[in-house]
């Protein structure tokens, strides 16, 4: 709570007081705490929840959206973990946090330890069923798909009339020396990254420049003609880049879904009801705009999330 401003914590404190008072006033029925009362719209009255995030803007925005929506439904959310960390999945399993947004593709490869050679038809179902073993529940995934993408500068795309990765493959067959690709380690090592891409499109990049993810945007168009980016990254548009269409549908779907420990969901099933319409509204266009507001315009994740929830009528 100490992340917040003094004003906000007074409001939260007031809310807690009101909760305590109302709980005393009626009866001390804080056992299950599930459905609660219809009065006051607080489906999650009395729930104390922690939302975690990974260390990049999109994950933090999703966490803020979740935290604010749950608070709106009456829960108390400790937002000290909202700042993001690389070990968020471990924190979830250890019970340090109650929930965070994960991606289906990450769940399949990184968490469940599969490769993409044995990719199921319905990835979300496979991942959510596979993760049941670990007592982790996946709420229905959002339509937003933050998958890998290959980007080029818009000038380069125009000069060589590149629209899809197939176009790029054809171009590189004629100009093999132009195939410089900037990419980060994960993309270079995964089957659903560069190795599979080169096989599927029968394309060969002449020089692969392995750099940190954050450096790709600055190097694109300079050190490299091609770059690995994420499809919902706000910096793609801001840096005047064009994402090449994955016309052979090679890249794995990375739909975002809220994951939580099964016991948390059993205790507060209303979380699923609160989050369902929000998750549904998170399309590629929406999340890309939110990402750009944070990464390009420098707004805070918190403000961006509040604005979006208000604009879409999720906050009362």
């Amino acid at each position: 709570m100490n992340v917040r401003s003094g004003k906000a914590s007074v409001v939260v404190l007031g809310g807690v007081l009101a909760l305590v008072l109302s709980a005393c006033g009626e009866d001390a029925g804080s056992g299950g705490g599930g459905g609660g009362g219809e009065s006051g719209g607080g489906e999650l009255d009395g729930a104390e929840l922690t939302v975690g995030a990974k260390e990049f803007a999109e994950s933090k925005i999703l966490a803020q959206i979740t935290a604010q929506a749950l608070e709106n439904a009456g829960a108390t959310v400790d937002d000290s973990s909202l700042s993001g960390s690389a070990t968020v999945r471990e924190a979830l399993e250890a019970g340090e946090i109650d929930m965070y947004w994960e991606y289906t593709g990450t769940g399949w490869v990184n968490i469940l330890g599969n490769t993409t050679e044995d990719l199921p038809e319905d990835l979300f179902t496979a991942v959510s069923e596979g993760d049941m073993e670990n007592e982790i529940a996946w709420l229905p995934a959002a339509p937003m798909n933050n998958t890998y993408a290959i980007a080029v500068s818009s000038a380069f795309a125009e000069d060589n009339s590149l629209k899809s990765i197939s176009d790029a493959a054809a171009y590189l067959a004629d100009n093999p020396d132009d195939g410089t690709l900037c990419a980060a380690s994960e993309f270079l090592n995964r089957d659903d990254g560069l190795p599979g891409l080169q096989t599927t499109y029968e394309v060969e990049f002449s020089e692969v420049v392995e750099v940190d993810l954050g450096l790709i945007f600055t190097q694109l168009g300079d050190t490299c003609n091609f770059g690995e980016v994420f499809s919902t990254d706000g910096r793609v548009v801001a840096n005047d880049l064009v994402v090449l269409e994955d016309d052979l549908e090679f890249f794995l779907p990375y739909n975002a879904a809220l994951t939580m420990r099964q016991e948390t969901l059993d205790e507060f099933p209303a979380i699923a009801d609160v989050m369902a319409p929000i998750s549904e509204a998170l399309t590629d266009e929406e999340i890309t705009a939110l990402n750009a507001a944070v990464d390009v315009d420098g707004e805070t994740e918190e403000d961006v999330a509040t604005q979006w929830l208000e604009d879409n009528g999720f906050l009362e």
Partner: protein, 268 residues
């Protein structure tokens, strides 16, 4: 015995004390003690090999853990360490000699500050700066970052090593009619060698560790395996990257220790 606690050394106030590492004076080692470290490291590598062999590797792990990739990463790492340490020595030792001459007294503070800044800035920050501001990536950029980071210990030890030489000996040398340069070459430098070598050894170890970060700017090295393991959450790959880096660091430290024994002037 740390050189910086030596009494009667004039200019040490400008030299931060902690990093001036001097070798512990000891007897020449026995054959058995020379053999221990290589045997130990060999056993570690054998254990690592057997561990990896016992695992069933998926395609992601195989991509990192194959002989040609590991050999390439190891070789890149050795090159990064060797080349950066070479440049550290040819920059820092002459600079250290220069800065201990009486006529350079007034530049001393400024140049030491510059060297201090080099070590204060984190290597990864320097790498990112080179990449973002100058579009400077790859092996050469990594060398620049590593050299900036490791110059200080060698520079400091060179200065401390030269300053701790007894004034009376220098006086005696000059009294015998030896030129200034002759005194430097025949008296000061030989007497400073043990401390300079200790600084070089420190620089080598710093460079082995910091070179793992070169993977982020397309300069390869064992960091490539380590980062691949971290980014794809493959524990076996992480272990191989980490253990090989540690083995290389210990091996280089061991070789540097032998070099110290061999190069130390007789009678010291």
């Amino acid at each position: 015995m740390t050189a910086s606690t030596e009494p009667g050394v004039p200019d040490l106030a400008t030299v931060p004390a902690a990093a001036a590492t001097a070798p512990v004076r000891r007897e020449r080692r026995t054959v058995a003690s020379y053999l221990f470290m290589p045997l130990f490291l060999g056993l570690v590598c054998l254990g690592l090999y057997l561990y990896v062999q016992s695992q069933e590797l998926d395609s992601i792990e195989q991509r990192s853990l194959n002989a040609s990739n590991i050999g390439k990463a190891l070789w890149e790492h050795i090159q990064l360490t060797a080349v950066s340490t070479f440049f550290v020595i040819i920059i820092a030792v002459p600079l250290g000699v220069f800065l201990t001459r009486p006529f350079t007294r007034r530049y001393r503070g400024i140049l030491l500050t510059v060297a201090n800044i080099g070590q204060a800035v984190p290597t990864i920050g320097l790498f990112a700066l080179l990449a973002v501001l100058f579009f400077f990536l790859g092996f050469a950029a990594a060398i620049v970052g590593l050299v900036a980071y490791a110059v200080l210990p060698v520079l400091r030890n060179t200065m401390v090593g030269l300053q701790q030489v007894d004034e009376n000996i220098l006086e005696a040398g000059r009294g015998m009619g030896i030129s200034k340069f002759g005194v430097l070459r025949r008296i000061e430098l030989p007497l400073a060698v043990p401390i300079i070598l200790a600084g070089v050894r420190t620089a080598l170890i710093i460079n082995v560790g910091a070179a793992t970060l070169a993977a982020y700017i397309n300069a390869g090295g064992l960091g490539r395996i380590l980062v691949a393991g971290l980014s794809t959450n493959r524990l076996t790959v992480q272990i191989v990257g980490a253990v090989l880096t540690a083995v290389l660091a210990l091996l280089i430290d061991y070789l540097a220790g032998i070099a110290e024994d061999v190069l130390r002037p007789k009678g010291l």
